[in-house]
């Protein structure tokens, strides 16, 4: 079984990202970058499936600038077998990413595509679903457990109010939630080995994907600072404020 894992390059989750002073977007100059944490969980799951003998090959794909090779290397150091970089300097939207991945699916015919449920930069939670629509593969989002039975997979999903179990025919798309696993760290010997694993580099033109952004970023601003709280006199006043000021209850 072949597994394709998507990995995205994003600002490290420890970094406090600030808006550029001209409000044209987040300021990422010299900011430490890392694999999106949800993607890391996807890589971990793929590698575990390989270790269990369920998967035979794990391919890590990233779509982004040349330096996104670093994140592919990280995936290779965690245990993926080879990498594909679709190199582009365009700010990629979920649809463009999904279209690129669709092309890779056509070329590689994976049995499963594992993606993070969202990336911590845009927090869109769209790519997996869009890829599902484009490929027509079965789809399960927010996975917290994946098991296999021959040609089908059973996925437990985290949904509002509980867990839902889906049975999927392969090939399938699964997006990962936080509780699926705890990713390992890359050991030094594996970091060294990863250097020798192949990474193919493609361009969006070669794939024939139109990646022109469909949306426009008007401005990026820091969220309004939280104001100091006040003490209310009694429950009635609290309810009144929740209703009329905060407008969170009706």
């Amino acid at each position: 079984m072949k597994i394709l894992v998507a990995v995205k390059r994003v600002a490290d989750y420890n970094v406090k990202v600030r808006a550029k002073s001209d409000q044209s977007g987040p300021d990422l100059t010299n900011v430490k970058m890392a694999i999106n944490p949800f993607c890391e969980i996807a890589v971990e799951e793929a590698v575990r499936l390989k270790e269990k003998g369920v998967a035979t090959e794990v391919i890590a794909v990233s779509i982004g600038p040349k330096v996104a090779q670093e994140q592919i290397r990280t995936a290779l150091a965690l245990g993926a077998d080879r990498g594909i970089l679709i190199e582009t300097d365009v700010a990629m939207e979920p649809l463009a990413i999904a279209k690129c991945l669709k092309q890779i699916c056509d070329k590689e015919s994976p049995d499963m595509v594992l993606l993070g449920k969202q990336a911590i930069d845009g927090d869109n939670n769209q790519t997996g679903q869009m890829l599902g629509a484009l490929t027509g593969y079965a789809q399960a989002t927010f996975a917290s457990e994946i098991t296999f039975d021959g040609a089908s997979a059973s996925v437990i999903r985290e949904v509002d109010g509980g867990l839902q179990t889906l049975e999927l025919k392969l090939p399938a798309i699964v997006t990962t939630d936080l509780r699926l696993n705890e990713p390992r760290y890359a050991s030094l010997p594996n970091i060294m080995k990863a250097k020798k694993k192949p990474i193919d580099v493609l361009t969006t033109e070669e794939l024939g994907v139109d990646v022109t952004p469909r949306t426009k970023l008007l401005k990026a601003e820091p969220p309004a600072e939280r104001k100091a709280g006040i003490k209310v006199e009694d429950v009635a006043q609290l309810v009144d404020k929740l209703k009329n000021e905060a407008k969170v209850i009706v």
Binding site: N14, R18, S21, D27, L28, T29, N30, V31, K32, A34, E70, R73, T74, A77, Y185, A186, S187, L188, P189, N190, I191, M192, A194, K195
Partner: protein
């Protein structure tokens, strides 16, 4: 959890203030890249966060226990050891054909800095083991290497170094542990060792002790000391533990801090003698041990740096969030209180902490880079100079971070106020952990004797000369930069004060060596301040380059660089000038401590 160190600072120290990237051109590092280094340090940080920081507090409150049979450590300790081993770090800087990854020394030391910062007590197990690996590699026979190196590198045993005895710590020449030759070429050891770290535990199947002892009939003093491998279990040919050796735990000592590293009293030869295997030649043991100790001393300095760094991270975070009082200029009692960082005196404490923590880290990494150059630089002259400089600065690289780390951690407590004194906050634990560093690996005074009694005059003063030349290079560079030229001048004056003092003390030692060395600890501090100032100037030079480079910076980067330059300024204005007062005491051959008599106390 207190954030571990500061990734931006580590990047700065490795790649801007030091030129770690240039190591990649050396054949030994041809397979490496900055990306590999970064990935390795990312792993080091995750291992430190997940497996070391997780039990730093617990290990302090539930210290190791001995039930008469075995020693118990909280189970997180073994998990941390295993994670360190599995990450490939125990073998990280050894050769490929030994199962290592040929990682440069300086990168390896940053790995250790993360685990030290997370939990110094648990980090002691790998820390000492790496020293033992280096020692056996350098001086062991082929068979010894084949048997013991894989055992430790794969985590099936840790290593210890056993020098100290109940009656001798600083004065190793007087050790009493005896080694008697046995018929099979091995030895039987009899004696007792004291304060030995990590010699009993339940984290790995064996313990490889490196023990100093005297072979029967050998000369008195340091020239009669030999070095032995004394494993807890004799090691079978396949590496598995065999017969129990006659080295037994007499008891555990109970420590102020650093608690998860067991501190043992070991008895050798309660029955028919502990089996020991001689390393290298007889009577040369102390020399071998010293080679390992030089690395260990850089390591101790870096350990002190890491603890100071955690204290700084903690108090900075606290001071930014704790509202207290108003500035004197504020007349309105209903105005909101300001954060602690608004008070200049709190900023003074934080500046001192920053100067010590970042300064100590850089001092250790700078020394590691010299160690690297001494071994792998392509130009033989560069190797030689690096070796001379490293020999010279080692006493300060161990002592300055240890001494000022304690003061930095003391400041952390002060900034937290009452909270700093409470065990609910980690400031007091960090202080207790730190307090060991001026004691072990040679107490502070011993390094004073080393720098003044040995290092400055060694090789006809060649080491000291290289130091003067290297500092002068950076002074010249700084003279050309407007915002650093004051500091260049200050350092130039201090450097000549140091040199004059050195010459006058050498003369005094020639007349009366006891009197000449009487104030050696103060001289050590003086040398330490000049060294620390030089290295802060180096950081300021790199920061200035960063600020003025055409490369784009975000605002945080600019603050980062300005913070570096301002901290250098703090150190130069507030702490370097003490050398003048020290020079007065030292140059006049002050006799007050020397003349004090026991009966007068």
């Amino acid at each position: 959890m207190i954030p571990l160190l500061n990734d931006r600072d580590i990047e700065f120290q490795l790649y801007e203030a030091l030129d770690t990237e240039s190591l990649l051109t050396r054949p030994r590092y041809a397979d490496h890249s900055r990306e590999v280094f970064n990935a390795t340090l990312n792993t080091a940080k995750s291992v430190a966060e997940r497996y070391f920081a997780n039990h730093a507090v617990k290990a302090d409150t539930q210290e190791p226990t001995f039930d008469g049979e075995s020693v118990h450590l909280i189970p997180e300790t073994k998990a941390a050891w295993d994670a360190f081993v599995e990450a490939g770090f125990l073998a990280a800087h050894e050769d490929y054909d030994e199962g290592g990854a040929q990682l440069p020394e300086v990168i390896f030391r940053v790995i250790m800095s993360y685990t030290n910062a997370a939990n110094i007590g648990t980090a002691a197990y790998p820390f000492v083991s790496v020293g033992v690996i280096n020692l056996i590699r350098a001086f062991g026979t082929a068979e010894q290497k084949a048997l013991y190196l894989p055992l430790i590198m794969q985590g099936n045993s840790n290593g210890t170094m056993a020098l100290t005895e109940p009656a001798q710590g600083s004065a190793l020449g007087d050790i009493k542990t005896m080694a008697e030759p046995a018929d099979d070429g091995s030895y039987r050891l009899f004696g007792q060792k004291m304060y030995i770290s990590c010699a009993e535990h339940n984290i790995a199947g064996n313990v490889v002790n490196m023990v100093l002892a005297k072979i029967k009939g050998s000369p008195d003093g340091v020239k009669g000391i030999s070095l032995f491998i004394v494993p807890k279990y004799l090691v079978n040919a396949d590496g598995s533990p065999g017969q129990r050796n006659d080295v037994v735990l007499a008891g555990l000592n109970h420590k102020m801090g650093y608690r998860n590293a067991t501190n043992t009293v070991l008895n050798f030869g309660e029955k028919d003698g502990a089996v020991g295997y001689l390393i290298g030649e007889a009577n040369k043991g102390l020399g071998y041990m010293f080679q390992m100790m030089n690395e260990a001393r850089i390591g101790i300095g870096l350990g002190a740096a890491a603890i100071a760094y955690q204290g700084y991270n903690l108090s900075l975070d606290y001071a930014r969030q704790r509202p207290q009082g108003r500035l004197a200029s504020s007349k309105d009692p209903s105005s909101p209180q300001v954060m602690l960082t608004e008070h200049a005196d709190v900023r003074r404490l934080l500046l001192a902490q920053k100067a010590y923590a970042e300064g100590s880290l850089f001092m250790g990494l700078f020394a590691s880079a010299l160690f690297e150059d001494q071994n792998t630089a392509e130009d033989p002259d560069q190797r030689k100079r690096a070796g001379l400089l490293l020999d010279l600065i080692t006493p300060m690289v161990k002592s300055w971070p240890s001494k000022y780390g304690c003061i930095g951690n003391d400041h952390a407590i002060q900034i937290l106020g009452g909270a700093g004194y409470m065990r609910e906050y980690e400031a007091e634990r960090l202080y207790r952990d730190q307090r060991l560093n001026p004691i072990h690996e040679g107490a502070e005074a011993i390094h004073g004797l080393d720098i003044l009694g040995r290092k400055v005059t060694m090789k006809n003063g060649a080491c000291h000369q290289v130091f003067l030349e290297e500092v002068q290079k950076d002074i010249s560079a700084a003279q050309a930069i407007a915002c650093l030229s004051d500091m260049a001048k200050q350092l130039e004056t201090a450097l000549s004060t140091l040199d004059n003092t050195t010459q006058s003390l050498i003369a005094l030692m020639g007349e009366d060596v006891d009197l000449g060395l009487a104030n050696a600890t103060l001289y050590l501090d003086m040398y330490g301040r000049v060294l620390a100032s030089w290295l802060w100037l180096k950081q300021a030079l790199a920061a200035d380059k960063g600020l003025s480079s055409t490369q784009q910076h975000n605002e945080q980067d600019q603050h980062f660089y300005q913070g570096k330059i301002h901290t250098a300024r703090y150190y130069f204005d507030w702490e370097l000038p003490a050398v003048n007062q020290y020079a007065d005491i030292l140059n006049s051959g002050n006799r007050v401590p020397f003349d004090m008599q026991d009966d007068w106390f």
